[in-house]
Symmetry: C2
Subunit: 149 residues, 2 copies
Amino acid sequence: MISSLSSPEIGRRLIASLRQKGYKLTAQRRYIIAILSRDLTHPGAMDILSRVRKKAPQVSLSTVYYTLDILKKEGLIKELEFYDRDNRYDVNIENHINLICRKCGRIEDFPGELPYSYTQVQQKTDFQPMAMRYEYYGYCKDCRRKRAG
Amino acid sequence: MISSLSSPEIGRRLIASLRQKGYKLTAQRRYIIAILSRDLTHPGAMDILSRVRKKAPQVSLSTVYYTLDILKKEGLIKELEFYDRDNRYDVNIENHINLICRKCGRIEDFPGELPYSYTQVQQKTDFQPMAMRYEYYGYCKDCRRKRAG
DNA sequence: TTCCGTGCAAACCCTTTGCAAGAGT
DNA sequence: ACTCTTGCAAAGGGTTTGCACGGAA
């Protein structure tokens, strides 16, 4: 299971994949991959940019998006899309349920099984699934504490 | 269960609710409500506008959004939000799983139970859910047929 | 040397907002 | 009449695109 890998392992796996597929491994890409591998709270493009700039101040947002596009296209990361906030990126590419805090924006994984496999859905409805999203919106532990206080 | 109501019944219920809450029942609003009540495939704002304009050509998009905002605020419809397509609106305000076609954009309801009630999620994680979305993305029956042919 | 990748800036698209004119109660 | 609603137009915000320079292989 991917989520059992350590951050350095995840990073190495992403770098090895890009190299194998013929992509150039620039310093910018290594920074971006390092951040994605370490931060499992699903950072957004601007989050990533800010942190990359601590190491390399001139990096642009297009570079971040360009790299994220490649990682997406190669199936190495998963994009969580939102209309009213920035998209978020996850090195855990397995289907899972996300818990999304409406106050601080934090996204955490829910440790539970998924109902209805793609096959079950298709047998029941004749709709052919190729992706899914299961999400709960609410308040995380920390924000609940602040609201109560 | 709401989804067992007929379109006219849904429309009357929405109109009665707005009247009771003191909102003005303009012709525009009646048209918008009629469309939402009849079209259970989750139309978007532009869809609604185009169809309202067949009856009242001068109606503006802001009016559509303004009316949808009121219906949302009063809990009479549910908004499905997408970052890469227009938001969609549903008179079925119960939590349910949606099947979203990547080709034609059609959204249909999945007839299945939901796992993990808000209470169960909170007991398991200390995260307090207030809303949820469960979706499968893929190809609907009609679009699969076209792709195969 | 050859492309691919980068950075800057502008375009995009749907949604939201500002404001004056118009309509329901 | 009084206020809410409407319609036009502009703003807003994250993502995408165009293009010339620069750097990895």
